[in-house]
Every structure is written in structure tokens, then in C-alpha cells.
Point group: C2
């Protein structure tokens, strides 16, 4: 028998990357009673591992729908987006914090949120959840609260649903002020299986993490500070 | 010999659909001395005619680059986007003005402008031109000045270039307050070849316009009011 409470839950769209942060943001949304619709983006990531992880994370959270949107920006100039730049290894978190990271993608969260907005309108979802964080690795301009607030204001002028008054969009950023350790504590409390998530910029073909790129460094530091062991696979 | 003035011109991104309005907006941008980079979107339009027209219009205006970005939103639900809905015929312009048109696409200009923003950042272009119009056929929420202003504000918080201060984005809407007749007069004065443009929602396989859909009705009324003949092909 279908769970009648599920059909009554308000729908929400969650941007799901396959990483630790978006899985946690999704779990927060679910804990608030939302019925989840997941959206992921295939923009030529170096590692399909991320999209496979996003799919597994969505399934584990019981999403009602999951779309993966192809975004092919190669024509913009390959160097600008997902180019074969070197992945820095073994940098301290302090060193990462200087300036805007070389992994920056032009207007990425603007593009991602715009597509999520369209998906939300289709499903009548007023609520969007995104796992941006402005504490660790804060160099991305489109992870800051002032960007999110401006996007939300724009969104409410952009769509038929918001202009006609049936939806008032809200962009939720439940992780924005949390440290990586607090994100991991939150997700663990909510039952997130971090063994399904992938964060590494340079995994091997099996999906095992390198343990040395900026993303691995921050992730491992977060688990250590939370007093937990990362269940995801690492290269031995 | 290359024209030295061209390399010194400031770059601008123009959203080019193949229709009359965006061709005119592009001509306005060129008349203001900008070097043009065009961006078009392949989102499953019923008629490839539009994209072919966009390509021709771009060439005629001497764009320095032209990208066509595929946007595949079929997974969102086909009915929501470019579905096989009937095309209304022979409606008066007054009747078209009631409510939001059935041809509305969720968050379309938000998605289009977001991708244009990424393209602009790649080319170091602070200026974006879009041929939105709030006079004729004004039911689209994402054609209104208040939406454009909110997008511009968001864009300036979104990107590395704007946050670091190297670019201050401006979204130009040179047609927003013009009637269709005034748009056509403006473009004609600037040398736009409207024979290259296509506006029809229901063209035949040769690209000839039906002459009876809302878009044709507005276009033909605009040419009539401007005292000009539309050079584009119509079905006999």
C-alpha cells in the first residue's frame, strides 16, 4: 500500500552532485518532510563516478524523481570549463582559501539553479535545496549567501508560477554556515550513508578517492574533526 | 587586412533566436560599437528553421563567434516545455494579451541568460543584449524589466569576473519598450535583412511562415504599421 503521507508531502527540488554536501542537504530536506525531486548535471565531469554516486544517493534517500541534465559547454572553449587542468595535491586548507579556486566554472551555480528552477516549476515545488557552503573552501562567488538571496529574488520574478502567485520560491542552503565536521555530524545524525558519496577530484577507475586533492583533504579533515571514519573507498 | 578597429571593440554577447526581435537587438548592439558573440539554444524547437535562421542572421551581422547550446529538458516532462500543443491561429493581438501564453516555457529566459552569462565571462564581455519586449505579447514574466533588473543584480554576485571587479555585467534590452512597428523601423534603419529572420510557430518544411499564428499576426501587423513589406517567405 502506498504511504498516504508521502503524497501529501510538499515537493522540493534538491541539487544532487554525488558529493558529501549535497547528500547532507538532501537529508535535511527529507527530515523537514519534503518529498524530494533530484536534479544532477552532466557537464563533462572528468569522472562519471560523480553521477553514479548521485544516482545511488538519490535512491538511498527515496527521491520521487531524478533527472540528469546534460550541459555541453565545450563550444565555449574547453579551457574555461572542465579542462584538463592539474589537480593540486596535499595543500593545506589555509592555502586553498586564497582567491577563487582554479576549479571555478563560469556561472555554474547560476546555470544549475536556473535549470533546477524550471524543474521545480514543472513539479509545483516552491522549495529548492542546494548544498553550498561558505565556510570551507569559500572562494566560489556563487556559494555565498548574497548570491543565493539575489537568485531567489530573481526567481520570484521569473516564472509563471511565482508571478501568478501559486509558488513563492525559496532557495534553502542548510549547510551554508556549517563546518565540514558539522555537515558530517548533521548527515550522520540523519542517517546519510557517506559510503555512497564521492568527493575526490582525481579518483581511480573503480571510484576510489585519491586522498590528496583539495576535496579529499577537506573531507578527511572533516571526518577527523567529527571523530568519525570516512566509509568511502580510498586508493590504498 | 584585418580591421584594427574591430579588435579594439568591446565584446558583447547577443542571444540570437532567428527571430525578428533578436536580430534587431543584435543590430542595435553592433551600432553601439560592440563586437558580437552570438549564443543560440537548441531546446527541441519544433522547427530547426529557427536555428538555421539564427545562424544566417549572425553571419549577416558579422559575429566573431556563435555557439548553439543544446538544452535537453525532455526528462522534465514533455508537456511542460516544447510539447506538441496546438498553435492558435488568427487570434487578434488583444486576445493574445490575456494571461500568460500557452507557449510559455518554465524559466526559459533565466536558463538562457544564465548560459549567456557563462559565455560572456569566458569572452570577458560585460554586456549582454536580449531582444525581450514588454509591449506586444507581454504575458511572459521573464520579459519584464523587473525580471531583467533582478537577473543583472544576481549576475554581478555570481561570477569570478564580477566579484573580482574586472567585469560589471549589464543586460541590455534595447527593444523592451518598443512596439513591433518601431522595432522593425529601428532594424530597417540599421540595415537588418528581415528576409533572413523567422518568427512563425508553424512553418512549412521550406521554412515559409503560416501567416496566421500569433507570431505571424504580430509580425505582419508590425510591418503594416511601419509601412513596410515583410521580405520573409510566406506559404501561398
Amino acid at each position: 500500500m502506498a504511504d498516504p503521507s508521502r503524497s501529501m508531502a510538499a515537493p522540493a527540488v534538491i541539487l544532487l552532485s554525488g558529493g558529501l554536501d549535497s547528500a547532507t542537504a538532501a537529508a535535511v530536506a527529507r527530515s523537514q518532510g519534503f518529498a524530494l525531486y533530484a536534479i544532477s548535471y552532466d557537464y563533462g565531469q572528468r569522472h562519471r563516478v560523480e553521477l553514479e554516486a548521485a544516482r545511488r544517493v538519490g535512491e538511498s534517500l527515496g527521491v520521487l524523481g531524478h533527472v540528469t541534465v546534460p550541459i555541453d559547454l565545450r563550444a565555449f572553449g574547453s579551457s574555461a570549463l572542465t579542462a584538463d587542468i592539474g589537480v593540486p595535491k596535499d595543500r593545506s586548507p589555509d592555502a586553498m582559501g586564497e582567491g577563487i579556486p582554479i576549479t571555478y566554472v563560469p556561472a555554474r551555480n547560476t546555470v544549475f539553479l536556473s535549470l533546477a528552477l524550471a524543474y521545480a516549476e514543472v513539479h509545483g515545488a516552491a522549495d529548492l535545496f542546494i548544498g553550498v557552503n561558505a565556510v570551507d573552501y569559500s572562494g566560489y562567488p556563487d556559494c555565498r549567501p548574497e548570491f543565493i538571496a539575489a537568485f531567489e529574488q530573481m526567481a520570484n520574478l521569473a516564472t509563471k508560477a511565482s508571478v501568478e502567485g501559486s509558488l513563492r520560491f525559496k532557495i534553502h542552503t542548510p549547510l551554508v554556515e556549517l563546518s565540514k565536521a558539522d555537515i558530517i555530524r548533521t548527515g550522520t545524525r540523519l542517517g546519510v550513508d557517506y559510503g555512497l558519496t564521492r568527493s575526490c577530484y582525481d579518483p581511480d577507475s573503480s571510484g576510489a578517492a585519491c586522498g590528496h586533492c583539495d576535496s579529499c583533504t577537506l573531507r578527511l579533515k572533516g571526518f577527523a574533526e567529527a571523530g568519525l571514519t570516512d566509509p568511502a573507498p580510498y586508493q590504498s
